[in-house]
Amino acid sequence: MTPEPFLGVTDRTPVRHHILSVLVENKAGVLARIAGLFARRGFNIYSLAVAPAEGNAQFSRVTIVVDAESAPLEQIVGQLDKLVNVVAIKDLAPRDALERELLLATLSVDNANRGDVLDVATNTGASIVDVNATSVTVMLAGTPGACDQLEKALEVFSGVELQRTGRVALPRLVQTATA
C-alpha cells in the first residue's frame, strides 16, 4: 500500500503545527494538568484527542496538535515532560505522521437536494450513516485535509450540524527500498 501523500497545510491548520503523542497515567485530573499547563504557559492547543492507551487501563494516550508558533516545541515538550503523570512524549513532525480525523455532519435535506448530498459524499469518500425524512448524517474518517474539503463542500447546505474529533496520529512506516 502506498502511503497517502502529505497533504500540506490547509486554511484550517496552523502554519507550523506539531503532533505530540503523549502517554499519560490514567488518573483523575491528568487532562486538567495538561490543559492548565498549556494555558498558563501560553501554548496553543489546536486539537486534542484522548482515549485509553493500547490494551492497558493504567494509561491513556493524548494526541495534541500544538501550534509551534506560540512557543518553541522544545519548550512545550520540556514543560509537558515535567508533569509527573506524563510517562512518554512522542513528537511527530507532520511529514512523519499519519494523521486521521473523523467528521460527522447532519444536514437538512429535501427532495430537491438529497441527491446533491449523496454526490458530495460519494466524491469525498464520506459515507451516509443515518437518514430520516428531513435529514442526512454523513461521516468521513480521513486526513485532516479531506475533512477540511468535506466541511467546505457542505457549506452550501442549510442546517448543517458538524462535529470533528480532532486528529489522532501515528508515525508513518519506514519504506524499505524494493529491488
Binding site: V24, E25, A28, G29, A32, R33, G36, L37, R40, P72, E74, Q75, G78, Q79, D81, K82, L83, V84, N85, V86, V87, A88
Partner: protein
C-alpha cells in the same frame, strides 16, 4: 497492624524522618491532630497558615531537608497558597498536607471546601488527592521523593476527613518502584559528548564567568564549585538564590549579578566570552534586556531541568545534570580556560572603580540602612543565618552581608513575597537551633506577617528581627522617584504607626529602637545578649536611600546606574 488514616499519615511522616511540622488545625484536618499528641514530631502552632508555609520554607532553605506544613481545608488551604507558589518559584522542597472535606461531600460546596489540588496544580511540582487510607504511605513517600529529587519543589497532599478516620493495614513502600511514579525519572546519565563540548568551549575562552544559581546550593555543589573555580581561576558571580554557594570573602567572587548586582559582576557577564550557568535560569532580574545580555558570550547551561534550556537564552552546550555532577565531570576532564590575567586585570579595574558604597552615616540619624546591616553583620556570630523580606532591605542585605557558607541566606527570590522574612527566620531557627538567626526586614514586610513572633515567643524560638524602618514601601518609592517623576502614590506607611516597640512587647518579644548611631550600636549589642526570647529592633532609617547599582526594568545591563557618589567619570 490496623491504623487510622490519620495515624498512618503521622507514622509515614515519622518514616520520612520528619522532626517538625508547622501547622494550624481545623475541622477537616482534626483527626490528624490527635495522633500528633503521641508522636515524636514537634508541631509548631502558627498564628496564620501563611506563616506555616514560610516557616517550612525557611526550615528547608537552612537545612536542605524538605519542610513540612499542615493546615485544614478551605481558607486554611488557600492561606498557604502563597508559600507554595513561593517555594515553586525558588525550587524549595516542601511537603504540604491539607485537610479536605469528606469524600462524599467533595464537589457539593460543603463547609470549608475548596479545590486545593486544582488551585495548586500550577504551583506545585505535583499534588495528590488521597482516595483511600491504604494510599497514604505511598503518597507521603512519593511526596518526599518528588519534593527532594530532580529539581526540588513543593508537593501537596490533600486528605479528605473520612479517609483520615477510616482504617488501613499499615505498610510502607520499601523501594522507589512501589511509589508508582512511571513518569518520573530524576536520575539522569550525564551526556559525555556535551561534557566534551563544554571542555572545548572552556579551553577557547579568555573571558569566562561562572554564573552560579540556586541549583548549586540545591545539589550541595559548593565544594565542587570552590575546587573548580580555584583550579581554573575563573571569576564567580552568585545570584540572589545562590548567595553563600561561594564565599563572599574569596577574591575570585565578584558578588551578585542582576538588577541590583555589583558593577563588576554585571559588567564581567556583559563582557564575557563564555558564561557557565550552574543551576541558574537566566531570570529577567539577572538578564535585564535579553538581547543585549552577555551578547558575545557562548553559553554552557547546566541544569537538572531540561525545560530551562533555550527558554530565555540559547545554550551552545546544554548539560542536563545536577551542578555537582557537572562540576565533577568538568574537573575530571581538567577543563581549563586560556590564561585569564588580562581578564582579571580588567575586572579588578571595575572592582576598584565601582565598589559598593553608600552615603556617610550621620551621628544624629536618620540611619543609613546599609550601615545598619554592616553593623549587625560585624557583630554577628560566624555562621549567622540571615532571612529577609522583599524589597530594598532585601537587596541591601544581599549586597552588604558577607555570606560564607550554604544555608545562611534565606530569602524569597522568584516570587518576591513580602512578609517572607519573619516566618522564614523562625523556620530557619527551628531547623538550625545552634545558629543565630537575624531577619533583616522592611517596615512594610514586617506588617504582613509579624504576628508569627507570637508563635516564636510561645514556642521558644529566639530570632532577632531588624526592621529597617524608613516609613515607606521603599522599593516602590524608589521606582516612583526614579521613573514616575517623584509622584509618590500609596507608598507612605509612617514610622510611628504602628509603634514597633510596643507591638514587639505585646507579642512577648523584646522591643528596641535606634534613631542615631550611638543607639544603633547599643541596641545591636543588647540584641546579641538576648538568647531566650525574640528581639525586634526598630531602626529609623533614611527614606531617601535608594538601592544602587541599578539596571532599570527591561533596560540593558550595559546601562547600569551606579551610586551617585561614583558618578561623574565615564562609566
Amino acid at each position: 497492624m490496623q491504623l487510622t488514616g490519620a495515624q498512618a499519615l503521622i507514622k509515614s511522616l515519622e518514616q520520612e524522618g520528619v522532626d517538625t511540622i508547622f501547622g494550624l488545625p481545623g475541622g477537616a484536618i482534626l483527626p490528624v491532630y490527635d495522633p500528633i499528641l503521641d508522636s515524636s514530631i514537634r508541631h509548631i502552632l502558627v498564628r496564620h497558615e501563611q506563616g506555616a508555609g514560610h516557616m517550612a520554607e525557611g526550615y528547608a532553605l537552612a537545612t536542605g531537608k524538605a519542610g513540612v506544613a499542615m493546615v485544614t481545608s478551605g481558607p486554611g488551604a488557600t492561606n498557604i497558597v502563597t508559600p507554595i507558589a513561593n517555594a515553586h518559584m525558588d525550587s524549595t522542597p516542601l511537603v504540604v498536607i491539607t485537610g479536605q472535606v469528606a469524600t462524599a461531600s467533595i464537589g457539593s460546596d460543603a463547609f470549608q471546601e475548596c479545590d486545593i489540588t486544582g488551585i495548586t496544580m500550577g504551583i506545585t511540582k505535583h499534588n495528590f488527592l488521597i482516595q483511600s487510607a491504604h494510599e497514604i504511605p505511598r503518597a507521603v513517600a512519593a511526596a518526599f521523593y518528588l519534593a527532594t529529587t530532580g529539581r526540588p519543589g513543593p508537593v501537596l497532599i490533600d486528605l479528605p476527613k473520612d479517609i483520615s478516620q477510616s482504617t488501613m493495614e499499615w505498610w510502607y513502600p520499601e523501594s522507589i518502584e512501589e511509589l508508582d511514579l512511571p513518569g518520573y525519572h530524576p536520575e539522569i546519565d550525564i551526556d559525555q559528548d556535551a561534557v566534551a563540548r563544554a571542555v572545548e568551549l572552556i579551553s577557547q575562552s579568555e573571558r569566562p564567568v561562572l554564573y552560579v544559581g540556586g541549583g548549586t546550593l540545591k545539589s550541595r555543589a559548593h565544594q565542587d564549585l570552590l575546587a573548580f573555580a580555584e583550579r581554573t581561576k575563573m571569576p564567580v558571580v552568585t545570584t540572589l538564590m545562590a548567595r553563600g554557594a561561594f564565599p563572599d570573602s574569596h577574591d575570585q567572587h565578584l558578588g551578585m549579578p542582576g538588577m541590583h548586582g555589583m558593577y563588576s559582576a554585571v559588567t564581567a557577564i556583559q563582557k564575557s566570552d563564555l558564561l557557565i550557568s550552574l543551576g541558574a535560569r537566566f531570570d529577567d532580574r539577572v538578564t535585564g534586556q535579553v538581547s543585549s545580555f552577555a551578547a558575545n558570550a557562548k553559553i554552557i547551561h547546566v541544569d537538572i531541568d531540561k525545560a530551562e534550556f533555550n527558554k530565555v537564552r540559547r545554550a551552545d552546550v546544554a548539560l542536563q545534570t545536577n551542578v555537582a555532577s557537572a562540576l565533577q565531570a568538568l574537573e575530571a576532564a581538567k577543563a581549563s580556560p586560556q590564561n585569564l590575567d588580562v581578564w582579571w586585570k580588567e575586572i579588578r579595574t571595575w572592582q576598584e572603580r565601582y565598589p559598593l558604597v553608600y552615603d556617610e552615616p550621620t551621628t544624629e540619624g536618620p540611619l543609613r540602612p546599609q550601615h545598619v546591616i554592616e553593623a549587625i553583620a560585624k557583630k554577628a556570630a560566624p555562621g549567622t543565618i540571615v532571612s529577609a523580606g522583599v524589597g530594598q532591605h532585601q537587596m541591601w542585605a544581599s549586597q552588604f552581608w558577607e555570606f560564607e557558607e550554604p544555608g545562611t541566606w534565606v530569602n524569597s527570590g522568584g516570587a518576591g513575597t513580602m512578609g517572607f522574612g519573619v516566618p522564614a527566620a523562625i523556620g530557619a531557627k527551628v531547623g538550625r537551633p545552634d545558629r543565630t538567626v537575624w531577619c533583616i526586614d522592611g517596615d512594610g514586610c514586617f506588617q504582613m506577617t509579624a504576628q508569627e513572633l507570637v508563635t516564636a515567643r510561645a514556642e521558644g524560638i529566639p530570632i532577632k528581627v531588624a526592621i529597617l524602618n524608613n516609613a515607606y514601601l521603599g522599593m516602590v518609592r524608589q521606582w516612583q522617584e526614579m521613573f514616575y517623576e517623584e509622584r509618590y502614590s500609596e507608598v507612605y506607611l509612617s514610622a510611628d504607626l504602628p509603634d514597633y516597640v510596643k507591638w514587639a512587647e505585646a507579642m512577648g518579644c523584646v522591643g528596641l529602637r535606634a534613631t542615631n548611631l550611638k543607639e544603633m550600636h547599643e541596641v545591636i549589642d543588647q540584641a546579641n545578649q538576648i538568647n531566650d526570647v525574640p528581639v525586634v529592633i526598630d531602626f529609623r532609617t533614611d527614606s531617601s536611600e535608594k538601592v544602587f547599582p541599578m539596571v532599570a526594568a527591561g533596560a540593558s545591563n550595559d546601562d547600569i546606574l551606579v551610586h551617585p557618589l561614583l558618578r561623574g567619570g565615564a562609566q
